[in-house]
């Protein structure tokens, strides 16, 4: 009896020492694995505040130069289409008669951004629009939304 208890105490100490050692290594590894993925990168983020949504009347179709997109507002709400060509990244012209045209290699896009002609491999992406906390229209040029998604303020 006495012999057995001493043995179990001894094995418990071994078990506790080894398992705490493993736990320590595990915790440290978990911390190390997180390192390559920073919470935030110091590069520019293409999230723009466009101001009060009411300044864009229904029927607005405006090219935004710094944001590199074309902003629309119709009865269903807001949407924004990127004006960076999916072919080689030229800045696309917004045509007055509707649709988009790339000046570099002649790609043509419809009013909703689908490829109509030229070498462009895919249509122009629709960009995410939301309202910021303080109620400004916010454009996230880094996030894409499915074609046809419109934002209602």
């Amino acid at each position: 009896m006495h012999e057995h208890r001493r043995g179990s105490r001894r094995s418990f100490l071994s078990w506790a020492a080894i398992s705490s050692f493993c736990a320590a290594i595990g915790t440290a590894l978990a911390g190390i694995i997180r390192l390559p993925k920073p919470a935030v990168l110091p590069g520019p983020q293409r999230i723009y505040k466009l101001g009060d949504p009411e300044q864009f009347a229904v029927g607005t179709r405006v090219k935004l130069e710094t944001e590199q997109c074309c902003l629309f507002r119709d009865e269903q709400g807001f949407h924004a289409i990127s004006t960076i060509c999916t072919h080689l990244g030229c800045i696309i012209a917004v045509q007055e008669q509707g649709g988009f045209a790339c000046p570099c290699h002649g790609s043509r896009f419809s009013e909703s951004g689908e490829v109509v002609g030229g070498p462009a491999p895919t249509g122009l992406p629709w960009l995410e629009i939301s309202l910021s906390v303080e109620g400004q229209l916010q454009l996230n040029a880094e996030a894409e939304v499915p074609r046809g998604t419109k934002f209602r303020a």
């Binding site: 100490l13 071994s14 705490s20 736990a23 320590a24 935030v40 520019p44």
Partner: protein, 495 residues
């Protein structure tokens, strides 16, 4: 052998204790970084305020969508990455005007003209933009070159893109006051800005971008920031920099602060053109096309700090000598305009009076002419009685030692009265001028009349000969100055 003994017992305990300690340490670090971070607490608090302020369901939905994450403003054109908005979440939200910092709304009027996305935060406020705690962001203790400017001094950065005098409604009133003080107190007498000013003190063109390590802080107590240094240095220059020639200017605390703001605003930043305000461009243009110079203003800016009103000779504690009375009628009656201009242009080498010509003090010829006109005022130059013929320099030497050397110094230099062994003096002063000054003295200065004290024509002639032997006059080609025939007269006098 003891029945309880286990040969590995000690190692097992050591492993257990060290592992548990490691886990505790790692867990504490993880909590500190992920849960207890200062900015996370601030954002949670902000979210509660947002929810409390949400008037309708839409606002409430937006408030609930507020995510706890590091936020930052990146402006590559200004090399700015500012995470200040991770804690100052409400700066663009008008509803936060009643909150305390860090949630409070920024002045909306200023943000309207300076969107955060275009300017960032540190462009105006300085500080360490990448920091995520307030202490690090202030950057005062750390080795950060440009710590957060106190609110009272933030106007200093306005001048980077603006002409502060053109800003409406006195939004940079303190900075403008500092600029005025710089002129009124005659700082330009010793300090150059953009090539214009005296040479006794350092040029101040980029002093606002100097870091604290570039100042002598051995005697600076309290805050070790550059602005505290400037403020203390204006109060008591000798207390910070022993042996400095900088005088104590005598400013009130408010004036010191205004001048500190102006000193901090002196910074040459190479900014993209899009950031220069129209008024700044107009200011630059105006500098290239200056208006007609005003003698009185120029005198106040460049001369008055040493010469004061110029009506009386002044004893300077710092220079340990008399500063000549240059608007004194007795002096102006003896000296013609060309001679005055010559002295301003060349200065007096070997004394504290610097040259003010285009290549030295940076004044244009028209400006020097304007100063001469101001000095001249109403006093006319009167034709001097002819000088006695030069006599014996040897006798002159004895007379000089007895009568003149006490003030003008042995050999006409290192005295506390104007140096006579001086090339510019020798060139500018005619024999008639020197003779007349010896004979009648100079009113309102310590120079007495030696004629009345008994010096006759012949002795004055002897003194003239000696004084002329003290130094060679400067000889250099110049477009500005005296007429050629006068040069010939001066030359013939010397022979």
């Amino acid at each position: 052998m003891h029945p309880n003994s286990d040969p590995a017992r000690l190692s097992k305990w050591a492993l257990l204790v060290s592992s548990v300690l490691s886990i505790v340490f790692l867990a504490a670090a993880a909590i500190r970084e992920n849960v207890a971070a200062e900015w996370k607490g601030v954002q949670r608090e902000y979210k509660t305020i947002l929810l409390a302020k949400s008037a309708d369901a839409v606002a409430r939905r937006r408030a609930e969508a507020f995510s706890i994450e590091i936020r930052q403003v990146t402006v590559p054109a200004l090399k700015v990455v500012d995470r200040c908005v991770s804690c100052h979440n409400g700066i663009e939200d008008g509803r936060m005007a009643d909150q305390s910092q860090p949630h409070r709304t920024h002045s909306q009027e200023l943000l309207k003209w300076h969107p955060v996305a275009k300017f960032g935060c540190t462009t105006c406020h300085q500080g360490q933009g990448l920091a995520l705690t307030f202490n690090d962001a202030k950057g005062e203790e750390a080795f950060w070159d440009y710590p957060l400017l106190p609110a009272a001094l933030t106007e200093a950065t306005c001048a980077t893109c603006h002409d502060p005098r053109a800003l409406s409604r006195g939004s940079a009133a303190k900075l403008v006051r500092g600029m005025e003080l710089f002129d009124v107190k005659g700082c330009a007498s010793c300090h150059k800005i953009e090539g214009k000013g005296g040479s006794l003190g350092p040029a101040l063109d980029n002093v606002g971008l100097k870091t604290k390590h570039q100042f002598m802080r051995a005697h600076l107590s309290g805050s070790q920031t550059t602005w505290n240094w400037h403020s203390e240095h204006l109060r008591d220059p000798g207390g910070l920099v022993p042996g400095t020639k900088m005088p104590s200017v005598g400013l009130t605390a408010a004036e010191r602060e205004a001048l500190t703001v102006y000193i901090l605003s002196l910074r040459k930043r190479d900014l993209p053109e899009a950031y220069l305000a129209n008024d700044k461009i107009e200011e630059k243009y105006a500098k290239l096309h200056p208006a007609a110079p005003k003698g009185e203003a120029l005198y106040a800016k460049y001369c008055s700090h040493c010469h004061d009103t110029g009506l009386y000779a002044r004893w300077s504690k710092n220079f340990k000598r008399f500063i000549p009375a240059i608007r004194n009628q007795a002096f102006l009656r003896l000296e013609d305009d060309e001679c005055l201009a010559e002295n301003i242009l060349e200065g007096r080498p070997g004394t504290e009076m610097p040259g003010w010509g285009p290549k030295a003090g940076g004044l244009r010829e028209a400006e020097i002419q304007a100063i001469v006109e101001y000095l001249r005022g109403e006093t006319k130059f009167t034709a001097l009685p002819p000088a006695p013929a030069r006599g014996s320099a040897e006798r002159g030497h004895r007379l000089f030692t007895m009568n003149c050397a006490g003030c003008h110094g042995v050999g006409g230099k290192n005295g506390f009265a104007p140096a006579l062994a001086n090339a510019v003096f020798q060139k500018a002063a005619t024999d008639a001028f020197i003779a007349e000054t010896i004979r009648n003295g100079r009113g309102n200065t310590p120079m007495p009349s030696f004629g009345r004290a008994g010096l006759g024509q012949q002795e004055i002639g002897d003194l003239l000969a000696y004084i002329r032997s003290l130094a060679q006059p400067v000889r250099q080609a110049r477009s500005y100055g005296r007429a050629p025939e006068r040069d010939q007269v001066a030359g013939s006098e010397e022979r």
